[in-house]
């Protein structure tokens, strides 16, 4: 059985699913990712922080919208990790 992991934001800011407005999203819902892959960006005080997957698995769904304001500790996405399959 796959384990459900939550990707959590360490910082407050604005969440982005794309590297820039014209580009494709980093990862689509249902797509598989590897540990270390960037899944989104958080803009904090004109800086950009990359949110990375910590495990291999399937990014099941995002819990926040693109360009949504988020708090530190907020759950951003659900990852179905392969580790315990």
């Amino acid at each position: 059985m796959a384990a459900e992991q939550k990707i959590i934001s360490p910082i407050p800011g604005v969440f982005y699913r794309r590297p820039s407005p014209e580009e494709e999203v980093y990862v689509k819902e249902g797509q598989s990712v590897n540990a270390g892959d960037t899944v989104g960006l958080i803009e904090v005080m004109k800086n950009f922080y990359e949110v990375k997957a910590e495990h291999n698995g399937i990014l099941q769904k995002f819990l926040v919208e693109n360009e949504q304001v988020i708090n530190a500790g907020e759950e951003l996405a659900v990852l179905l990790s392969e580790e315990s399959i």
């Binding site: 910082i11 407050p12 800011g13 604005v14 590297p19 820039s20 407005p21 014209e22 580009e23 960037t38 960006l41 803009e43 904090v44 005080m45 004109k46 800086n47 950009f48 922080y49 990359e50 360009e67 304001v69």
Partner: protein
């Protein structure tokens, strides 16, 4: 005398408070506009009126041109002061103000447009007899062409986005291989950041100093300078400490630099206050870098040495008045220094938003331009700079001593700030001797590992 009855400030934080102060002294009413995140900040309460203009993200509030114009009409503001950052150098905003019959406190939109293009600014200044960094500002269409031009200029070079600025959109290239590698990605990034992929090539000046000249011009052909500011203490191309006069310039350097700046702005017909940025090589040669068509963050050091109020000058000029001062009336008295307090880790430059539990200000002989008071929350949405500390002395030594004392007395609790770094710079021997370049923080081991956009 009153220049306007009511001025709207299209900005936030410390600069909004600073503009309000001068307006109050002159009997001008002020209107603040604010985002959801800023409702509790002092600049909202200190204005005569305050209008909420939307959500916390800047593009839904402080960058929303129509919302700001609506707020100005609703409050019968006759003029808008844009501060720095946000819409201050946005020609579309200045144009919309012109169309609505609201005075934009700054130069006309066409001038902002011209100076916003680095290539055009370069060409205009060169035509005015101002030295620019050796380079190529013609059209570059292909990487082969870029390589050929680079060969004739000689490496190292900077590949720069014409629409870039403030350290964003430039790439150092030391060889043909490197240029080949970064050429298309630099254009791509310029396209995505600035919507304009035009690039040009400039010689890379190694270990430079960054010195700028404050200029003031009215609508009657009068143009003067208010001397220079030394801005070489930088982290990731962002200024940290500034001073005036520059400890590097000789009297002859200063005269040449300031006269050249005035020659440049007279030639292009500039109006209101502005700043011409130059880089200085070790051999005292200087080159025009770019022009900022707005009030500068570090304007207080110029105010401290000249005794002038730059916001007052801006208001008078925008109202069509003639400059009341002549060049020979402007004197550099003593020495001034400014430190910028950032809500960020001093080593990594990682931002540190959060609540300020305690804020103790230094006692006396210091000017404090702060965005926040104790108990305020520094939000994650805007620039990390939360305040400026400015000291003045009859000598550089005295100004630096006052600064060090002020920084030691300053106490911020609840968020991480760069205060330890500021004190470290003040105690650095090279800095104390005035013997430093833009590499100072790197040399001190504070290059910053930071975070970059992926």
């Amino acid at each position: 005398m009153k220049y306007f009855d009511r001025v709207l400030i299209a900005n936030r934080g410390e600069i909004a408070r600073r503009i309000i102060r001068t307006c109050k002294r002159l009997g001008i009413q002020t209107v603040s506009v604010y985002s959801e995140a800023d409702a509790e900040l002092p600049f909202v309460k200190e204005a005569d009126e305050a209008v909420p203009i939307g959500q916390s993200q800047a593009k839904m509030s402080y960058l929303d041109i129509e919302k700001i114009l609506d707020a100005a009409k609703q409050t019968n503001a006759q003029a808008i002061h844009p501060g720095y950052g946000f819409l201050s150098e946005n020609p579309a905003f200045a144009k919309r103000c012109e169309e609505e019959g609201i005075v934009f406190i700054g130069p006309r939109s066409s001038m902002i447009q011209a100076m916003g293009s680095k290539i055009e600014a370069r060409r205009l200044m060169q035509a005015a007899g101002v030295p620019v960094v050796p380079g190529y500002d013609g059209k570059i269409d292909t990487v082969e062409e870029a390589l050929r031009i680079a060969e004739s200029l000689g490496y190292p070079l900077m590949l720069k986005a014409s629409a870039g600025g403030g350290g964003i959109g430039m790439q150092l290239v030391s060889s043909a291989e490197e240029l080949q590698k970064v050429y298309s990605s630099t254009i791509q990034r310029a396209n995505s950041y600035f919507g304009d992929g035009t690039v040009f090539l400039e010689k890379f000046i190694e270990n430079p100093r960054h010195i700028e000249v404050q200029v003031v011009c009215d609508h009657h052909g009068n143009a003067i300078h208010l001397f220079e500011r030394e801005c070489s203490v930088q982290r990731r191309n962002q200024k940290v400490i500034e001073e005036s006069p520059s400890p590097f310039l000789t009297g002859e350097d200063r005269r040449k630099l300031c006269e050249t700046a005035v020659q440049g702005i007279k030639n292009i017909g500039y109006t209101n206050v502005g700043t011409m940025e130059f880089i200085f090589g070790n051999d005292h040669s200087f080159y025009f870098l770019e022009m900022n068509t707005r009030l500068q963050v570090e304007h207080p050091v110029t105010e401290a040495v000249t005794g002038l109020d730059l916001v007052e000058l801006q208001l008078k000029i925008a109202a069509g008045e003639q400059l009341a001062i002549k060049q020979e009336d402007v004197k550099q008295n003593g020495h001034a220094v400014e430190s910028r307090l950032y809500a960020e880790d001093p080593l990594t430059y990682f931002p540190s938003p959060g609540k300020i539990n305690r804020l103790t200000f230094p006692g006396q002989d210091v000017r404090l331009d702060f965005a926040v008071v104790e108990g305020n929350t520094v939000s994650p949405f805007y620039d990390p700079m939360i305040g400026k500390i400015i000291t003045h002395g009859s000598t550089r030594e005295e100004a630096l001593q006052k600064m060090e004392r002020s920084l030691t007395e300053l106490d911020v609790d609840g968020i991480t700030t760069n205060l330890p770094l500021l004190i470290q710079v003040l105690q650095n021997r090279d800095f104390q001797q005035g013997n430093y370049t833009t590499q100072l923080l790197n040399k001190m081991g504070n290059g910053g590992i930071g975070i970059v956009k992926g």
